[in-house]
């Protein structure tokens, strides 16, 4: 099982891909059109789930950081600011 995260950004695919740049280097990042004119889905694949509790916890922390990165990207693109 892979550790994955995704978010939908209300912009077209080309714009999202361009604005994404080289974020999350090392992860596999793909972009696809969301259904119903809802923008672009950004999918991040962090690879295979780790074995063992300690490694899984580490992976969970990594996933949480990736989700934060995705949210901040969406906020920046859609609103121009990062909520704080």
């Amino acid at each position: 099982m892979h550790v994955q995260a995704a978010i939908t950004v209300l912009r077209d695919r080309e714009e999202v891909r361009r604005l994404w740049g080289d974020r999350l280097e090392g992860a596999e990042v793909t972009f696809k059109d969301a259904p119903g004119d809802r923008g672009t889905e950004v999918h991040v694949d962090l690879g295979e789930q780790a074995r063992g509790v300690v490694r899984r916890l580490g992976r969970a922390g990594e996933l949480a950081k990736v989700k934060d990165e995705l949210r901040h990207f969406k906020q920046g693109v859609e609103t121009g600011v990062i909520a704080r």
Binding site: L10, G39, A64, K74, E78, G80, V81, A83
Partner: protein, 392 residues
């Protein structure tokens, strides 16, 4: 500045805290002229909402005067008089573009925390725990308003603060609860809870054309206000008779109300002492976060095929939801934190037209420094308290 801060369970204090500043281009700073204590603030006060921290500034119902704007705010000017909606909404995301403002996808800085609790994050809210962003609230002299180009609503005539302040939350919340009921004229609507939100749900149901509106509460002064000011046609005092479901059936000729509004939320009381004590115990031991009497009775009382409208605030998990009744009676549940921005203009027009004067709920007017006493008075329903307005 002076601000009302949460200091632990059952304790608030008015303290000197740093003035807010503009942090982002879309911010504004508002000098608060009137602010209110909401029934849902009592959930924070009573310690039932997780992620509160000592020193958090409370308050999500406020209005005032714009004193500073960020460079990205072109719709407001210094000196504008504004009401500020309690949900913080960016105006740009898919949810905001579909007028689902309390589900804004971009305004909650602690979205990860909310996602763990609810499966998805919800919008930021002023002064309502770190689950909803940890934003400083408006029971203070000043507040920072993020996304000020979207939220604050300008008041451009001489209506008093008390007539428009409740556009920030409780009037649109009550109205949305009534709107959920799909009132077309002639319906029987029951409203659990005759606090300020319940009173506005009753008044809204009347404005929308309901024929019979039944208010349910345990305090006679609130039921009197429901009947005499809000427009309830019938009342049920469950301190006198705890079997609300049977009373509702009798009042509706055995049918049950066409729709039932839960304007109570997670700290419901029940006329049957043993039941109430059992739920209090579970809540105190954190084996259940909500007391669900009102919602359970709403589901059981609602006529088959009817609507249960939930606008009372819930935050976590509830035991013994009568899912069998819900499913087999084919009920529709409609719920949500209010999408306040959607209702600002139409309800403002109703106030201006004289369809409703929301100031009828105000029973207590106090200075900000009296906030600790006001919380106690409101919590314990002393002095026939219905709604407290604080003036910083």
């Amino acid at each position: 500045m002076r601000a009302t801060v949460w200091s632990g369970r059952n304790t608030v204090q008015v303290e000197n805290v740093p003035d807010p500043t503009i942090l982002d281009a879309r911010d504004a700073i508002v000098r608060i002229t009137s602010t209110a204590i909401c029934g849902s603030d009592l959930h924070l006060y009573d310690g039932y909402v997780p992620t509160m921290k000592r020193g958090d500034i409370l308050g999500h119902e406020f209005m005032g005067e714009v004193v500073e704007t960020g460079r990205g705010v072109s719709n407001l000017e210094v000196g504008d008089r504004v009401v500020v909606p309690f949900p913080i909404a960016c105006g740009n995301c898919w949810s905001c573009r579909h007028e689902l403002y309390s589900l804004c996808e971009n305004s909650n800085p602690n979205a990860g925390l909310a996602e763990k609790m609810f499966g998805h994050p919800t919008a930021g809210i002023f002064g309502y725990s770190h689950l909803t962003g940890g934003y400083a609230g408006g029971q203070a002299e000043y507040a920072r308003v993020p996304f000020a180009d979207v939220g604050p609503f300008k008041i451009e005539d001489d209506l008093a603060d008390e007539q428009v302040l409740f556009l920030s939350d409780i009037l649109p919340t009550g109205y949305m609860g009534a709107e959920f009921c799909e009132i077309r004229g002639g319906e029987s609507i029951a409203v659990f809870g005759a606090g300020p939100v319940g009173l506005f749900a009753i008044a809204s149901a009347a404005m929308l054309g309901a024929e019979q509106i039944i208010a349910i509460d345990q305090y006679d002064y609130r039921l009197a206000m429901a009947r005499n000011k809000a427009g309830a046609t019938d009342v049920i005092d469950f301190s006198q008779d705890a079997d609300i479901v049977e009373q509702l059936k009798v009042l509706t000729g055995g049918r049950g109300p066409d729709a039932v509004i839960d304007a109570v939320g997670l700290e419901a009381s029940h006329g049957h002492g043993a039941l109430h004590a059992a739920e209090r115990l579970k809540q105190a031991t954190r084996s259940e976060t909500e007391r669900g009497h009102a919602l359970r009775d709403a589901i059981l009382a609602c006529r088959p095929g009817g609507i249960v409208s939930i606008i009372g605030a819930y935050g976590g998990l509830m035991d013994k939801v009568p899912i069998g009744a819900l499913m087999n009676k084919g009920l529709t549940i409609r719920t949500g934190q209010c999408h306040v921005h959607r209702y600002l203009r139409p309800l403002y027009e109703r106030i201006r037209n004289g369809d409703i004067d929301p100031s009828f709920v105000v029973t207590h007017r106090l200075g900000l420094d009296m906030a600790p006493d006001a919380y106690e008075t409101f919590k314990h329903k002393q002095d026939e308290c219905v709604k407290v307005v604080l003036e910083p």
